[in-house]
Subunit: 373 residues, 2 copies
Amino acid sequence: MAAGADRSGKVWKSSARLADGRQIIYFDESPGLGRAAVPDGRNLPARPEGGSVLRFDPLLREWIAVAENRQDRTFLPAAGQCPFCPSRPGSPTEIPAASYDVVVFENRFPAFSGAPGSSQDAGPPGLGAERPASGRCEIVCFTPEHDSSFARLSPRRAATVIAAWADRTEVLGGTAGIEHVYCFENRGEEVGATLQHPHGQIYALPFVPPRTRQLLASARAWRKGSGGNLFDDVLAAELADGQRIVARNEQWTAFVPRAARWPFEVLIFPALRVPDIAALRQPAQAALSELYPDVLRRLDALFGTPMPYMAVWQQAPASDAAARDELAAHLQIMATRRAPGKLKFMASTESGAGVWSNDVLPETAARMLREAC
Amino acid sequence: MAAGADRSGKVWKSSARLADGRQIIYFDESPGLGRAAVPDGRNLPARPEGGSVLRFDPLLREWIAVAENRQDRTFLPAAGQCPFCPSRPGSPTEIPAASYDVVVFENRFPAFSGAPGSSQDAGPPGLGAERPASGRCEIVCFTPEHDSSFARLSPRRAATVIAAWADRTEVLGGTAGIEHVYCFENRGEEVGATLQHPHGQIYALPFVPPRTRQLLASARAWRKGSGGNLFDDVLAAELADGQRIVARNEQWTAFVPRAARWPFEVLIFPALRVPDIAALRQPAQAALSELYPDVLRRLDALFGTPMPYMAVWQQAPASDAAARDELAAHLQIMATRRAPGKLKFMASTESGAGVWSNDVLPETAARMLREAC
């Protein structure tokens, strides 16, 4: 049963501190590797006090993080200077160990940082409202191999990433003042990734994001109108129609949404609704570790070149019990290449008006993805 | 008073039809030019029937235009083949005349087209809801000079563009089934502009865009809380603070909003609140024709290279009287270069969560723009 055991996704977690006090957490696929015992020998400057602030935008009633300390963050370094590769003698990186399976550490240039205060706003914010951009930003390195990608992870390694997401969602979501945990990957320079090494990020936020609030409002309106759960009903409708299914197994369905905004947008829904990744049962985690890389490989195969994408976990707010009953976790992949050499941009209509037009018929996109590999 | 007359922005409007039946409208700065009498000698295929559809996204409760006919639209043509330059013998373009001042014509590859039906939705849309993406998409060419830009327009020419915007806002906004008129410019390949010739676009939409609805909801909540108008109060606060003012004259104030989302975002507010461009008085139009190109020149001067930007008119819905009392027209410029060689992207946090962080302090951005020219 070695193969079965390997696929169980069991991970060994160990934690240490980097030279400037940031936490690093190793998620290993074998016990006793002693990664966390390796010290960070770098001489890093102390982390800036205070950090960024949240300012209230009265025109859209949203909080914006102003984070001037991030302007000098690492930007497309040469391959030999990648801060996310394991350390080599004489070339220390963000990861002190000589190798790793999956590793999570606090972002050196965080948009959100510091211990949250009260998460409750005292009344409606005024024009000059400002508060600390408290929270935490973490980096998740998917593999020590600089030139790999999530699409090329083994199911075992993908399962370890999923286990890390689940762990962070649970731990960060249980932290006082954190209202939402957001796990995502920006893949490709075309979507603004400034480091090529395969990695994602986790934001632990001191507020529920606008899109999450919209999803929740939609689910509540749907419940009121139909009596059912919005996410259950969307999945049932996609399964009944079938034209937009990209891939599926017993636990998961990947489909292009009927009203996709992006040329190749894929939603991955679990068969059994859960509020967040931490609530996924083991068989669901294992099944996702096969299906998700498969979908990403289809995106890469589509035009024979790495597909730029944003992959994000939509999940329920961390501690709002009513919301957790209604909002169902799902993975959303927004792929931005609409044809060879052509990208979809969020330009004036999307950015300024919130009006979207999609040049690729979702049924066509799904068929292309089904036939891609 | 010749100089004064020239600045009055008087325009002569004439309309004609292109070979496939699309309307073209010349806005001339002198009378009797006979542009509209020049026939379009091209042999264009008939415009496709039906066109795109709107599909309802139940997850965010928004309508998405699915427009497969746009995938083959003109994409970064060589300079000699620009469809927005005036026609030359043997090289017919979208504009039959041998020159023009400002010209507006229906987009050959529209995301929205066709006569609107009833603009009222019949009850809450279901999962499969679909309706025609009716409306109209227009191109606005700012100048016949291919290599120019809005920043380099004379005040007289800028005034003619403003007159064209006002005309189209009034005419399209008065059309049955059109609920909103949206005027914008995508400038630069970096924000997805597929044609370099200086031009903007106008969307006449069969619904009020999500962002407009958000602005309106904010204004109503503000009225309820403070008794005042949100836009008046934001402008007054910016003037009182002063740190984020970029440029101003008696009629207009350009400022970086206190909670800017983009590294160089500039809002241009009129001193006297109006619901849309069509409601601007003549002195306000004339004053904007000086201030707006000045702000754009500052953006170009900032890093010594053309600044990619999205410039959009936020205006009130066309025919909702209560909304027109509350929502104040303003020009929003979203410039995307955050440093030489570095762009701000809407990546996973913005696109997937609606969470924004800005690396440039708005006060710093305003100072840099004030000092740029």
